[in-house]
Structure formats: C-alpha cells, structure tokens
Symmetry: D2
Subunit: 446 residues, 4 copies
C-alpha cells in the first residue's frame, strides 16, 4: 500500500526531536501533539467538522477528544488549580467512559459546529501548556505518569483515525478533494514472488511482557499450543486480488461466510472500498487515495477489505487467514532475526517519504509486517487468559469491546511508527472497510 506517497512533508516541519526523545516524556508529548496538529494542518474548518458516517468521527472531535483525555485523566486530578477549558466539554468530548459520566451521542458528533476549529485549537493549547507545566515541574506520581503515557498512545490511535475518517469523508465528495499531493512516482516494478515461511508446532508464549508500553489487552503474556503452520512472506497484492475478482470472487457464495455473502449482496460489493471502474471501461480499476484518483497498482498491498473479503480471498487462494497467535509468533521471530523492517507508516512528525519497501528491498524473511496495511487475522477479539481490565476509567479502554470484532495485526501506512509493536492488537467489526486493512495468507504446514 503506497498511499503513503500521497503525503508531502509539512511546509513547516515540527522541530527535530532531541536525542532524549524516548526518555523524555515532555519532549515526546510535544512531538506527538504536534504531529496531530500537522495532520490537521491541510484541512479547512469545514473539513474538520463533518462526520462522514456514524463509525467515523470529525477531525475536530479527534483534536478535542484527545485533549479531553489529558484534561480529564491527568490535569483535573493532578494539577492543583487547573481550571477546565469549558465545563460542557466534559460531556461533549467524552467518547465512551461511563465512569466519567454522560456522553454526547456518537452519531451526532458531526452536528457540533461550535466550538469552532479555532476554539478547538485553543483548547489544545490550553491543555498542552498545562500538561507541560505539570511535566516540567517534576514529581509526577507513577499513576499520573502512566496516564500521560497511555494518553500519548491514545493520541496516536486517533492520528490514524484522523486519516481514515478523512478519507471516508473526501470519498463522498464528488469534487474529489486532495489531502496532500503524492510525493514523486513509485518506482515501476513488480511485487516480489509470494513465499511461505514455516513454523513448528509447540507451546509458545505470546503477549506483551515489557519492557515498554503496551495496552492492557496485549497481556497477560501466556502460553498457547500451535500446530505447525506456514505464513506468507508478504501481504497479498492488488494484482492477486484482481485475479480473485476476475475468477468470480464476488459472485461465488461457496467462497464466503454466509453472513459475509449477505452483506456483500446487500451492499453491492464488487471490489475493495474506494475502487471504481472508470466509466464504460470494464476492468480499468482506479482507486481514490488521499492524493486523488489513480490507477490500481498490481504490486501494492491490497487494501480496504472487510474481514469477509479477506476470508473469501484466502479461501479462494487455497489458504486461510493466520490466527493472531501465529502472526505474533512469526513477527516476533522476524524481529529477532535482525532483518530491518522497512514499512511505510506514519513517522512521528511526518509521513515516511520513501518508496514502498516491498519494491525497493524484497526481504528474505517476512516483509511488510508493519506499516502498509493492517492484516486481518482469523481470531475474534477476546481477552487473553487471565486478562482483567484495569481498575477505574482505563478499564473501559479495551475490555468492554471484546465481542463481535476481529483482531488485525501489523499496522498501516497511517499508523505512527513508534506506535507499532508485534504484540499490538487492533480490532474492528467484520464489515469494516474504511481502515487500511489487507490480508496476509497462512496455511497448515504440509
């Protein structure tokens, strides 16, 4: 997926990070908050206000809610004399924390024309100044420091949602708005041939065990028994997906889960989201990107698939989706091998400008694990053995969503690089297509 090329470097890039970036919470705070602002920089007040669909949120809401998170969980309890920017924001920008109180209805986020974008930016500045004051005076309790940490990762999650929700919005506009122009043209080339890597059966550990930050749903680290399996060396490409389409993929119920077939029929799915045949030219597939319309590139990772489509494609290919445990075992092994992963994802502070790794440096191991596209697994999103949500509001962060969703692994071109890790569990409902979601095949070992 080289949607990444649609992004130019910022006109005024954020200040370079200091050497102490990873250890200095204040510096990281500054960098990450600035990245969010940089993402919104090309957008008009109108762009930032509208909600493309009930599943998506306006950019302005993302800007405000991430600030609300720091205000509610860090400043109000931790900074003596802090005064809330606006008393009504407590409800207005609460996403889903029942323990904090009432929430503005999710599907009405797009009706909030006030506060304006300018006021929302002032809200951010108000929170930033107070937070930095708190950080810089030192002596932060461990609990508050943990909230700042999770707030930064939370902010990065919303950075990705800003990009995906905006793409959904612009796609509904017949004028075809461009977010940022593409940076150069990808080098012509084909994807490397699909290979398989084998892993042997065994009782294997998965899940986070530190050091470093992880969300509560990434643990506890625990043992699973896996049969021997093989996993593809790269994600499936648009070219391979076109073969599936040409072979009647969208017309053959035997390839689909029953529910998926029903949704595909009801919604008239004929191709990935954002793909369209040019009028009167069958098979001439173009796709809408944040840099505008362009032809589908057979070498890029296929993207914007629902779980149902990923699953049908895998069945058509004589393979299956990996479980999340298989994926994590494979990715961890790859990282330990020392091979350098060259993904396309959101750098802190800017989009990565390089050509896609898959074309430039075909890996001998597993490539494109991180960046490019989120990879649908076959694993429903449930708590790990022994999982218990944290006490307090953070207990609502992940645990209460553990039903009727599927885990995706890896990370996309819109995921911040520092936000990625092998244990990360992303999750979406089976019909979701507006995320940068693709597929990596797996199969039982022969």
């Amino acid at each position: 997926m080289n949607e990444i090329q649609t992004a130019a470097p910022p006109a005024a890039p954020p200040p370079a990070e200091s050497a102490a970036v990873n250890t200095d919470l204040a510096a990281r705070f500054r960098t990450i908050r600035e990245t969010t602002s940089w993402l919104a920089a090309p957008l008009s007040p109108e762009d930032c206000t509208v909600q493309a669909m009930p599943d998506a949120s306006p950019t302005k809401w993302h800007l405000a809610h991430t600030s609300w998170f720091f205000e509610t969980f860090v400043l109000v309890p931790g900074l003596a004399g802090y005064s809330e920017f606006h008393p009504d924001f407590r409800v207005l920008f609460n996403s889903y924390y029942n323990s904090v109180g009432a929430q503005h209805a999710r599907f009405e986020r797009g009706l909030i024309t006030r506060p304006s974008l300018a006021e929302t930016r002032a809200y951010r500045e108000h929170v930033d100044a107070a937070l930095l004051r708190l950080l810089e005076k030192g002596g932060l309790s461990d609990e508050l420091a943990a909230f700042v940490e999770v707030g930064l990762h939370h902010e990065q999650q919303h950075q990705e949602l800003i990009v995906t929700d905006l793409k959904a919005l612009f796609a509904r506009n017949p004028l075809g708005p461009v977010y940022r122009p593409a940076l150069g043209t990808p080098a012509p080339g084909a994807a490397p041939p699909l290979g398989w890597k084998r892993f042997e059966e065994g009782v294997l550990p998965i899940g986070h065990d530190g050091p470093g930050f992880a969300f509560d749903n990434e643990g506890p680290r625990h043992r699973v028994f896996l049969e021997s399996f093989e996993i593809a060396t790269r994600p499936a490409t648009a070219g391979e997906y076109l073969e599936f389409m040409d072979d009647g993929g969208y017309r053959r119920p035997e390839l689909w889960l029953s529910e998926g077939w029903g949704q595909a029929q009801a919604n008239g799915w004929q191709a990935p989201l954002y793909w369209l045949e040019r009028e009167g030219r069958t098979g001439d597939w173009h796709q809408q990107t944040l840099a505008g319309w362009r032809p589908v590139d057979p070498a890029e990772a296929v993207c914007h698939l629902s779980f149902y489509e990923a699953d049908a494609f895998a069945r058509w290919a004589g393979a299956r989706l990996p479980t999340e445990a298989e994926w994590e075992v494979a990715a961890t092994a790859e990282l330990r091998s020392g091979r350098k992963e060259e993904g396309n994802f959101l750098e802190d502070g800017r989009f990565h400008p390089a050509a896609p790794a898959s074309l430039a440096s075909p890996s001998k191991g597993l490539s494109q694990l991180f960046g490019d596209v989120w990879e649908w697994t076959q694993s429903p999103y449930v708590g790990y053995p022994g999982y218990r949500p944290p006490q307090g509001a953070l207990g609502e962060y992940n645990g209460k969503f553990m039903v009727n969703q599927i885990v995706l692994r890896g990370g996309s071109c819109a995921t911040p690089r520092s936000h990625i890790r092998a244990t990360y569990r992303n999750f979406f409902p089976t019909g979701a297509r507006w995320q940068f979601s693709g597929v990596r095949l797996a199969r039982d070992a022969r």
Copy 2:
C-alpha cells in the same frame, strides 16, 4: 412569536435601497442577494457546512444553490460567453430539477466540505457580477427577466430556510449557540383578547390575478363556494397552548387525528418543538431561540407546531383550522380595509427591530396575519382548478409536490416582508415542526 427579538441590526447594514427599488430589477437583485449574505454573516464556516437533518440543508448549500439557480436558468442560456464557475456544480447544487439532469443526494448535502465557504462566496460573487452585467446591458428577453424575477423570490424562500435550518442545527448543540443577540426586552403585556370576525357565505374568488409577481401555484384565480364562517382575530398564543397542554392535550387520543397520535407517541411529543422544562421544575417551560434560551412568553404566538398539533389544539378549543380559501378571503378583506398590518418579519436587509405588533397595537380587525408565524390551514396542498405547471424546468418548481402536504398561510418572523402576500401558498408535510408554524382558529358561523 417574537423570535424577531433575537436579531440585532447588522453591524454594517446593506446600502439603503434606492427610490426605484420596486421597478429596478438590478437594484432589487443587489438588495436581496446582500440580505442573504447578511443572514450568513454571523456564521462560521463550520456552521454553514453541516446538515442538521435530512429535511434541512446547510447554509452553504443554500448560498450555492440560489446562485446555481441564476447561473443555470439565466446566465448559461442568456449571457453570451458566460463560463460556469465550476463544471461539477451543475450536479452538486441542483436541488430537484430532473429536467436539468442528475442531482447530488439531498441527505448528503452536509458531507460537502469542499467547496469551502470562502469558495462558495466567490461563486456568489462570480454569479452576481455576471448577472448584473447582463441586467445592466439591458435588452433582457421577457423569458429571462421572468427567470430573474422568480430567482429573487426563490432566493427569499431560501433566506427563510437558512434561518429555520440553522435553528434546527443550533438546537442540537448542547453549548446552546446564539445566532444574534436579542434586541431589548419585549414590553411586558398580555395578548389582546381573542375575537372572531364573521364572513358570509357565497361564491368567492381566490388566487392571484396580478399585478405583481406570484408563483404558478397561486393561480389561476378561480371561484369557490364558502359557507359562512368566523376566523380568529389573532393567532393562538403560547399561553393558550399551555392551557391545552395542562388539560392533557398530549395524553388524549380523542383530540387527535389517528396518524398524528401515532407520531406524537412514537416521537414522545409533549410540547412544541424547542420547548423544554427546566430540569426538575415541572411546568417551567423554556424555549430555545436563535438568541438563546428564554422563558416561554404566554403572550406570543405559539410556534413550531406540526399540523397534527395545530389540529388537535383547534379541536380542543372547540374550533377548527381555517381552509386556505377562508384564510385568503379574510386576509384580502383585511388588506382592503386599509388597516396597517404590523407583522414581525424579515425586512429586506435586516430583521424588523420593533416590538411585536400584537402587544403594541392590538388591531380592531385581524392582526398578525403576516409575519410572526405561518398559520396551518386544514387544506391539503393541491393544484387550483385549471392549474397547469409551466413548461420547462419551472414546471418542477411547485406542481410536483402537490401531494401529502398541507397549506400554510401568512408568513413568519423569518419571511422577508417583500415576499409576503395574501395569495401565497406555503406547504409542508403534516409532521414538520422546524418551520415557524402556528395556528389561527376558525369555526362555522353560528
């Protein structure tokens, strides 16, 4: 209805109208277009972009669509060398004219963040300059002149919709935005006592017969037979409506049309739209206005009723709604009597700043016929005998909506004064409440 008090005069009022205002099409064009801009002046780009509900449209869409009307029906056919501002606008801002071609989906008008408000203003200026060029060079054909004329009345209709649609939008915002502050406090006072005026049976003419502009649906002038009837000297007040509510008006199905009762139950109607009891204080009714929340004033005309509520109220009052023919006969007689109507409505160029007529100068005849609130009649909206829609696109203006709607007469505080006349037929579906719609009682003569 003294919502009018919510409006301040413009900081920079539009230029005074010349003495030739009624005869000079160019001057009227300038004035009316400026009034539209003045209405949008207090609004942010965000406010102008969002669609409160499928029935309403964004202010930006109103600004663009009214310009599209002049461009499509006057400039493209009538101004040699005119080049359209943007080729995609032909579809994007077409409301419902099948004869012009395809239309952007009505319920997606709120997703169009581009063009921006600034670009939309530029579109208006582009059209204004070209239209004035056309008008000023003279020699306009009668047909084109007629299109300019209807375009101005069309623009005035959208001026009212800007106000009503904005009110619907701000009402969904928990921050309670204020459009324009109220101008002073209404003089304390009571509504004049309700009187009745009698009209005798006969074959009577109604409908427009010129001179002056009227929409096609106001004619042909034709004869109707009316039994003797009486009509109330003023609209029903909020105080009278509170009596209806206190008497169980919303709990007694025998007062309601069956379909109305069903809607009232399904939607939980307990009071007019925009009324709310303050938390924990039963009967302490407040209402949201464009100047913010304020207590309901028993002396003002009750407003924001659906047809069902107006009908139930009339039945409760031992009366009925007037037919549109009765209303027009009564209003025409009133106008001929020479009594000066003091309504509260939108002046060309500014809101009327005076206190409500009903309080200041109780009429001996019928008062508040025009301005204040649109008055629901009992007449379904159908074509008059002999009515035929005009040829061409204007045939789609009114005729194709003549089903399942009810006629309202008079005009509201949001209706431009020069847009009002006794033959004017407004129409909305029976459940609509977001217009400034009230009720004047009638009854069979004893």
Copy 3:
C-alpha cells in the same frame, strides 16, 4: 376488471333472501353474515391466520373483528344478560377504538394462532344467535338499531378486505394458490371507445341527504362550485395502460409527482401490482388473480394502481384525475338518467357471475361507475364543510383518518352490490396498490 370471473357460485349457496329483505333487519343481518362466511369457505385454517403485510389483516381477524363490533356496540349495552364470548377478545379484536380501550398491535394480528378458525366461527355463531334473539324480540332502541345498521355496512367493508388481503397473501406464495376457479371465459372483445361527457359549471350540491344509510363522512350535503368539466365514459383499460408503459411511463420523472417518483424508484415499480412478464418474454404480461395466473386482457379496466400511478397515467394521457365532487355530480346524473348500471361486484350472497358489463353492453352514458375498480380521484380525504364526527365510539370510525389519504369513488368487483352508492367515499394512502384500484380520466371542459 374481470377478476370477478375467478369466483364460482358457492357449493352450498346461502338461502334465498326473502322478499322483505330490504326492510327486515334480521333477514339482512342473516344474509350479510352468511356472505362473509361464504367468502371464507374455500380457505384453510392456515390461509385464514396469516397476515400478508402490516396493511392487511388475516381473514380470521376480519371474521372475529366484525363479530366484536356487534358484541361491543350492540350486545353488551343492549342485551340483558349477554355474556361475552371471551373476556380477552375485547382487546384482541378491537381495531382502533380508543374509546373502547386498549388494542392488540395491528402488525401482530398474524401471530394470533389461537383462537383457532373453528373457535372464531363459534364466536360468530355465538354473536349471531344473540343478535338475532335481540332483533327478534323487538323493541330495539333507535340508537341500537343504528349500531346494527352501521355494523352491517362495516361487515360489508370487511368482506371486501377479506378478498383484497387474501389476494395479497396468495401472491406471496410461489405455489400460486387459487381461491376459486374462474367461471367460464370472458367473451372475446374490445373495450368500447373512450368517450367524454360534459358537465357545466355551477354551484352544485354533493353529499348524502338520505333516505337510506350513509356513513358520517358522506355528509353533510353541501354546495361546491365546479368549473365546467368532462369525464371519461369508462375507466382506463389495461390496453391503454400498456401504451403508457410502452411509452416509458415508468422511466419519465416529468410524468410523476416527486414523491411518487421516489416511491416508484425505491420499490422498483414497472407495472401494476400483480403483473409480471413471463420469464424471458419481454412484454408478455400476465397477472395473478384469485383464479390463478392469466394473461392481461387489454379490454379490462386496469387495476391495482397506486394513486401515484393513476396520476402519472392521467398526465401522460393529457388529462387529469377527477375531483370527488366532479365524480359524484357525474355519477348522480347518470343514475338519474335511468340507465341501468351493469357493474361487476359482489352480490349479497355470491359473486356476480356475468361477463363484464363493459364488453356485454357498452353504455351510452357513463359505464362501469360501480363495480370493476375503485377510481382514484384527485381529492385528498378531508371532512366536508360542517362535518362533525358523531359522539361516542362511532366518532372514531371515519373522522380521525382524514389526513394524508386520497378519496376513491365507485366500487370494485370485490365490493358488495348493496354497499355501493354515489356518495360513498373510500380512501387509501397514496402508495396503496393492493385494493382493486383503477382510474377514470377527467379534463377541464374546452
């Protein structure tokens, strides 16, 4: 419309009516109740229980509700010592009378598998025996006699609904059930040529003024002013409607009301309800009747149109729909002329077995006014001037439905002959197609 041919005489016909049938309430009661039973005779318990759609009711419900009407409004108040058949039936078979109390939900009428059909018949017999006891002992108050009278007309309305609702049910069954076989083949022939009859302008009386029964909504008799008009000598035929279809009637929005066009697109209307092209044979239109599938006969009156289709067809034909006043004036004149109307409708006690009047005896005046098809007018259903609903439960019979419906006049092949009169006002929503509804054209006089 010769759907009438689908009905055979009953195997065991009801007893011949006595000479005193029109004056003897008990005899009429017996005859009409037996006709209802005869209509249900070919139906299985299963057929009688299921609800084809929310707008329709099961036959069993019709059988029970008509008995409930006599029980509730005549027997309980009027027959000393009468005991209700089942206490729960008071709610279960109350259609919409709030003054009687709660009602079982309309859309769940089809879930009531108990009482069984046999029990429902026992309920009818229980009510019949008691009612006849009451009638035969004499001394009935005028008020109760009036309730018996309205109960009989009410029963006849449900006789028609049994037929239309059953047709809707059988149409959803791929096995194509036959209700009763057709009786012979219609004589081959063409419809008589379409003529026009002119009526002159004037203030004319319409509405019922007795003697004889009428529903409250047929009065008061009152004056209307009509312009001169012409009305077609017969309903439009299927052949004429096929011309409309062949001329793009369903593809040309300019022929349609906006709301009708929307419904036609949303529901995929391409022909009248119950018409279908045989697979792979374009233009080979067949229709489902209660006697099974048969080819569309161009000579018969077109049927199962919505108001929107009738209106679009009239516009295409360069004509319009008549107002209900025009229709009544024309029909009254026709009846006074002494010409014998030969309609196809439901005789008391059996379906009329004759061939359609339109083919056998082309009238010199207006033909097929009664029977064949209900004729859509252009008149919304509202109360006549001076109309007041009766006191008590009967006030809910008609008045509360006077909104968002259109008047139909005449009567269909499923309407009992003795139920028909020139002042009768039938009414349905604009999208309804499952009634036997057609169209007679009108136009302004030249």
Copy 4:
C-alpha cells in the same frame, strides 16, 4: 430449568424402541421421525404455519424442511425411480444450501399457508415410505448412509427448534396458549450450594475422535493449552440471577460489554426473556412456559439469557464464562468418572417426566451438564485448527456460519437425549434469547 415438567407423555406414545435401536438405522429413522410428529401433535394447522419472528421458523416449515433434507440428499440421488413429492418444494424448503440452488426467503416462511399442514404430513409420509424402502432393501452406499445419519441428527436439531420457535410464538399471544400441561409439581426444595471443581493446566486434547456420529465442526481433535481453572458444579439458578437483578444488574454499565449494554438499553431488557412482573407487584416475577404462566422458581437454572446477560452476570459474580475447551475438558472428565448424569431433556419419543436432577440428586461432581439449559461459553464460534468443511452440500452445514456467534455447550430440556455429547458445539448470535440458554460460571484457579 424444569420447563420439562410442562410436557405430558403423548396420548398415544410412539412404539417402544427395539433393542437394536442403535445399530438399526431404519428403526432409528422411524423413532426420530415419529418424535418430530409427536412434537407437532398438539398443534393446530394455524400454530404450525405462523413465523414468530425472522429468526424463528414455523413448525410446518420444520416438518417439511427435514423431509426435504432426506429427499434431496438421499432419495433423489439414491433411490432409482423416486419421484419428488412436489417440484416447487426444492426451492420452497431449501434453507440455505446454495449448492442445491435458490431458496425461498427466510423471513417469508410464515406466509406459506399452502401446502397445508395435512399436505405437509403427506409429504413426510411420502418421504418416510421411500426412505424406509431404500433402507430395507439394503446395500446402501457409505455416502448415502452417512447422509441418512446426518439427516437424523439434523432432524433432532429441528426438534429442538420446533419447541423454541413455538415458545416464541405462543409468548406473543395474549391468550397465553398452553402447549402441553405440566406433569405434577416439582418437589419443593432448594438448589444445592454452588461448588467449584478444579482442573490443572496442561496441553489437553479436545474435539471429537469417534466412535459414533459427530458434526464436522466438532473436529478435528486437537491440542490446546489451558491454564488451571475452576468450573462451577451446577448452572446458575434463577435465585442467583434475581440477586444480580436486585443488585442493579440491568442498570450498571460497568458490568456489561459495551455492545451488550447498548442492546439492553435499546430493547429495554430488565429480566430474562419470558419473565414478567405481575401488574403492580414489583419483584413478583413470573415466567411464561409452554405449560403456561407460573412463578419463577429460585432453584431452577436461569434460562433465556443472551450472551451479554450471561457475561454481565458472570462479571457481577466475580467470575467469568468458561471457554469451550475448559467446558469440554470438565465435561469429559465428569463423564469418565462414571457419575450418572441426570439431565432434563427430550427423550427420544417423549419428554423426560422426572423432577429436575439438580433437586433430586445433587451430584458430587458437575451436575446438569446436559439437559436443562445450554451454557454460554466465552468462545466465539470458529473452526478448530485443521478444520475443513466437507466437500459438497454438507460443507454448507456448519462452516459458513463461523463468524459473530458464540459457542454454547451442554444441551437443554428441549434437546433430544440421544443428540447430546460432550464435544457438541451449539452456536448462536450474542443477542439471541429465545433458546433455552443459561450460564455456568468459571474462574481462574487461585
């Protein structure tokens, strides 16, 4: 759950099973088919025809579809000269087998009043006779024999659905129909105290490995790693669930999955399905059973819970739901222990008449594993490692539903006894409540 007491033995019980019942396919075929008929015996044609809701099917449809299964998969391919009972049944009674062809719409199954119940019984007899002819002549291929076998298990699944779907239907009838009267009164008594049984961590095998029949989704047998866990000795009781309710269980979002909370609010859930407080008597909970209304018995297993409610209850109880692997490991151990399970479920040929085992003979091990209620696990329904759907139509039996459903284990009072086994995987969507579904707690070992 002693719903079982609601059933009386059949007036004319099916013939006793021969000693060879397990080996003689023909005898088993006869017995199982007769059991189905016996289940429908108390029902009227009306009862058998109506569809309570889109998720449920009419009894008549179950009677026909199970016959269709044998006809389509055994008789047509296997019995020379067999002629289908009715050509249209191929589509009409196809549930979801795309490989067989088109299907009648699921939500319209209740509109099929023809074939009648009598004709449907004739269809069954036609199929039975032919199938027995085929079986008795011997020489059945292994493939056909396998289809007969799966057809019998399929029939047993539909036996349970007949009961659950009928309960859903009768519950909508205000007359409160009784299916079969209860047999005696349960012995007064309390549930045994809740105990916990511990299982140690390890790599453990689960899944079917024969001998005997199992569905494809019960295999392949495979290894899983389990942490040490404890599982409750019996299902949760109605009394325990009442404590949850009294403690605000339905008012505390922190106990619920977010999606479950949303559904509970939207649907107004306040108690298990079929529970109702008697009017005006708070806390006086009654429940509708197939033997009519009766008070909730605190000792019985709580039933008719959605997954969301089971999950919230477990969280409230400081426990969790078991995984399906934990459940199977525990159940298998219990069976191997030789303790005799005394469940309440559907005997082949009749309901079990005994009082509930939990009251009569409290087990020292795990009790009520089979019969009484299906037990929600926490495991989403996915294929086991190495699972591949069978070739052909049977491949559509289970595999294509492996998404967005949750596994239930055990079996209910409506499950045929011979249909139950420890590896059986039942599955329903998270919001389903009309099955006999309850909850057994589990927890991590201390």
